[in-house]
């Protein structure tokens, strides 16, 4: 019977420390509560004639005392947990990005270089890895107990999760948000490898195209290039539709007077529901691609549009 869980990431030891702190506090309180129950049960049992003395009349000092003590301990635990939580979910800027799509009942993973895997995730150790995750159907949850992290994966959104694996090895990957009949089969493995091994794995499993290259093909195939300018020369100019050069990460003024920030979610929404956010000074002529482009292709298109950020607005 195993009673310990491998601690395989930078933060897993910190989570364990917090759990140990909570456990110690709990054991102290339990010792007090059970100790007092036993002591009183024996000393003050009805048959014991020991003189009880008078009962103290004023109890508010005691009440204030234990209320304040409880508040102080709880506040300390709150700060400890909140501080760790913020770090657990704040990915460093230089993280290696890997894309995850959940569907009933499997995990699909795509690497920047176009490598694809199912129900498995290969990552290098000693390097922050950021997962960009979405779902094709219901809500799933990507959980790696050895790294002490998890996050829900929602349809229509890009949620992120990051970690920095330390110990090479193979670890459980679970879906931990109930997602239907074969929820329990939506499992896989996370393989943490030395960086050299990871580089070798990438070459051996090299995809035909990088995500950006695949996205560029799709951009033409879905007809996007007919209207949108993309790249220094490509695309249809800026007359009918806004240029996509330099779009990613910049503010976009909308027809209703508001401004949005062009992130993954904005680009996704603009492809699927273009009528909802019309760019200022353009007519709402773009058709909806809802139901026509799958999550995998969306990731590639977004990767391509993201790569145009460096082009600068034209």
């Amino acid at each position: 019977m195993t009673l310990t869980l491998t601690s395989a990431s930078v933060h897993s030891a910190e989570v364990d420390a917090l759990l140990a702190g909570l456990l110690l506090m709990s054991l102290a309180v339990l010792a007090l509560v059970f100790g007092l129950i036993w002591t009183y049960a024996i000393r003050y049992r009805a048959g014991n004639t020991e003189d009880r003395g008078a009962i103290g009349q004023k109890s508010w000092r005691i009440e204030i005392g234990w209320t304040v003590a409880t508040l102080v301990v709880f506040f300390a635990l709150f700060v400890w947990g909140a501080d760790l939580y913020v770090r657990l979910y704040t990915a460093p800027g230089n993280a290696l990005k890997i894309y995850v799509v959940g569907k009933q009942w499997m995990w699909k993973v795509e690497h920047e270089g176009g490598q694809r895997e199912i129900n498995a995730l290969h990552v290098p150790v000693g390097r922050p890895v950021q997962l960009i995750m979405t779902s094709e159907d219901v809500i799933h949850d990507f959980s790696i107990p050895a790294f002490r992290i998890k996050h829900d994966v929602l349809p229509g959104r890009y949620e992120q999760l990051w970690f920095n694996a330390q110990t090479p090895g193979s670890y459980h990957l679970f879906c931990t948000q109930f997602c239907g009949t074969d929820h329990a089969a939506m499992i896989g493995e996370v393989v943490a490898m030395q960086q050299a091994d990871y580089a070798r794995w990438l070459t051996q499993n090299g995809g035909s195209d990088t995500l950006v290259a695949a996205g560029r093909d799709l951009f033409t195939r879905y007809g996007c290039s007919g209207c949108h300018q993309a790249g220094p020369t490509g695309g249809g100019g800026t007359v009918r539709a806004p240029s996509l050069n330099g779009l990613y990460g910049s503010p976009v003024p909308l027809a209703d007077g508001t401004t949005v920030f062009a992130d993954d979610k904005y680009i996704r929404d603009s492809i699927l529901l273009p009528a909802d956010q019309i760019v200022a000074s353009y007519a709402p002529v773009m058709p909806s691609f809802s139901g026509q482009i799958g999550e995998d292709d969306l990731i590639k298109l977004i990767a391509f549009i993201k790569s145009l950020a460096a082009e600068g607005p034209s």
Binding site: V33, Y40, G81, K150, H151, G156
Partner: protein, 540 residues
């Protein structure tokens, strides 16, 4: 106890005994018994589902049922146990029976509404149960969208309608208790002369009345989206799946306190009676119930720390979740203070109550693990959470229910239960419960997700331990059915106050007459005014 008792010739049990006199009764005591029969049925239905789940989890691949059937079992277990056992359990049975007696009143403020609430409960309960059997439902009791709206074959809408209907029963009971406590207190019974059971049922009723409508709205929206495809929760129609979770937990977190607050009330009654001593910190216990009822409406977001809400929301809800546990801690300390310098007797109600104290403390402390954000990320959605809330709901609430049931059994039936059997059951429940659920804390830490019909083989030993514990627990839960049933005919007659307790319910005959009190009592002393034996010796 060899007390000769004048058997009451006439009581609420004997006055009229036709089927109509039971099904159309407006006597709160008879309605309480109707509810007893109903929730006992639901408890064993939910229990059978749990037993089948524990058998299935004996082997990593699932010992007896398919994934689909397993999912239906835990959905049925959750739906039935939450809405048709835990939420109503203590208020509608013990509460219904004891509130007017504790107030010194002849009935609740609205006796007919009380009967209507039972019919609403049964209509909703039978409708939901029929749908669970006929259609099967595999969404879990939480109905998360879009799984429940778009991707399940089960009868979501039908079950939701059942829950919706029974919600009105909760609201009716809540209104009835609130009005009764305001208007029907006996002459001389000020708010601070009320037994603490009434304070906790008052707090519970406030949540019933304020939270249940939100559940009703949520279920209506869910039904609308499923049937008419109006975009509310479906992101493809412009909705937001997280909105469902916000609305659902806005009801369902306060509902957790609906389940446990009445248990707190039972604790205060039983601990004082069997310590023969006044309560320690009456006002702190009373107002902590109110504090819990208020704060419980502001912690729902802690169910969503990994769901995709903002970091600021998570931090706020974490702090509020720590705050809501402070009043519970205050209660535990005050109960310990009540034991101090008491004259403690270990009759079965007291054993159940002490069991509650231990199990609830463990449940409360492990709640802090999941309130602490950094720890919750690892523990949430695993068996740790399953163990945590079962320590509160089953270890705590069901123990309190049994404590109260044994405590008031002589009043309800006029008979004493077999003491040794009851004590044995109390010990067995405590042991079986811990063996069932303690291993699940470890399973959760090790990463085993909840709602899994199959699991990696390294988790098997702990799962087998847990299933073994559940066998003991099942036997222990069946024991009261037999010995309490036996006592109905063969138990010794009870005097009006077998425990030498204070409280108006003990000042009338056991079982009471339909009108409860021949003359409405007048209250002249504070609650729990137990004489100190040493005063008696000094006086003598």
């Amino acid at each position: 106890m060899s007390v000769t008792v004048d058997t009451p010739r006439v009581s609420y049990l004997t006055e009229e005994n036709t089927i109509g006199s039971w099904l159309l009764t407006t006597d709160h005591k008879r309605i309480a018994l109707l509810y007893f029969a109903s929730i006992t049925g639901f408890f064993f239905l939910g229990g059978i589902a749990a037993a089948l789940m524990r058998i299935n989890l004996l082997t990593p691949t699932g010992a007896i049922v398919s994934h689909e059937m397993y999912n239906r079992l835990f959905t049925m277990h959750g739906v039935v146990m939450v809405w048709f056992f835990l939420v109503p359990a203590i208020p509608v049975t013990l509460g219904n029976f004891i509130v007017p007696l504790m107030l010194g009143a002849r009935d609740l403020a609205f006796p007919k509404l009380n009967l209507v609430s039972w019919y609403l409960f049964m209509t909703g309960g039978l409708f939901a149960t029929y749908s669970l059997f006929a259609g099967g439902l595999d969404t879990g009791w939480t109905f998360y969208t879009p799984l429940s709206t778009d991707y399940t074959k089960g009868h979501v809408v039908a079950v939701a309608i059942g829950i919706f209907i029974s919600g009105f029963s909760s609201i009716a009971t809540g209104v009835n208790f609130i009005v009764s406590i305001h208007r029907l207190r006996a002459p001389g019974m000020g708010w601070y002369r009320m037994p603490l059971m009434l304070w906790s049922l008052y707090a519970t009723s406030v949540i019933y009345v304020l939270a249940t409508p939100v559940l009703a709205m949520t279920l209506i929206l869910l039904g609308f989206e499923t049937v008419f495809h109006v975009g509310i929760f479906d992101q493809r129609l412009g909705g937001d799946p997280l909105l469902f979770q916000h609305l659902f937990w806005f009801y369902s977190h306060p509902a957790v306190y609906i389940m446990i607050l009445p248990g707190f009330g039972v604790m205060s009654e039983v601990l004082t009676t069997f310590s023969q001593k006044g309560i320690f910190g009456y006002k702190f216990i009373a107002w902590s119930s109110v504090a819990i009822a208020v704060i419980s409406f502001f912690v729902w977001g802690h169910h969503m720390f990994v769901a995709g809400t903002s970091v600021y929301s998570a931090i706020t809800f974490s702090l509020l979740s720590f705050m809501v546990s402070v009043p519970s801690a205050i209660k535990v300390f005050n109960w310990l203070g009540t034991l101090h310098k008491g004259y403690i007797k270990f009759d079965a109600p007291m054993l159940y109550a002490l069991g509650f104290l231990g199990l609830f403390t463990i449940g409360g402390l492990t709640g802090l693990f999941v309130a602490a954000l950094g720890a919750d990320v690892h523990l949430t959605q695993t068996y740790f959470v399953v163990a945590h809330f079962h320590y509160i709901m089953v270890g705590g609430m069901v123990s309190a229910f049994f404590a109260g049931l044994h405590y008031w059994w002589p009043k309800i039936t006029g008979r004493l239960y077999p003491e040794m059997w009851a004590r044995a059951a109390a010990f067995l429940i405590f042991f079986g419960f811990n063996l069932t659920f303690f291993p699940q804390f470890i399973l959760g830490y090790l990463g085993m997700p909840r709602r899994y019909a199959a699991y990696p083989p390294e988790f098997q030993v702990l799962n087998v331990l847990s299933s073994a514990g559940s066998t003991i627990l099942a036997v222990a839960y069946l024991m009261p059915v037999f010995y309490l049933g036996y006592s109905l005919r063969h138990g010794a007659r009870s005097p009006s106050n077998p425990w030498h307790a204070t409280g108006l319910e003990w000042k009338t005959q056991s079982p009471p007459r339909t009108e409860n009190f021949p003359i409405i009592p007048i209250v002249t002393e504070p609650p729990y005014n137990y004489p100190r034996p040493e005063d008696r010796t000094r006086a003598a």
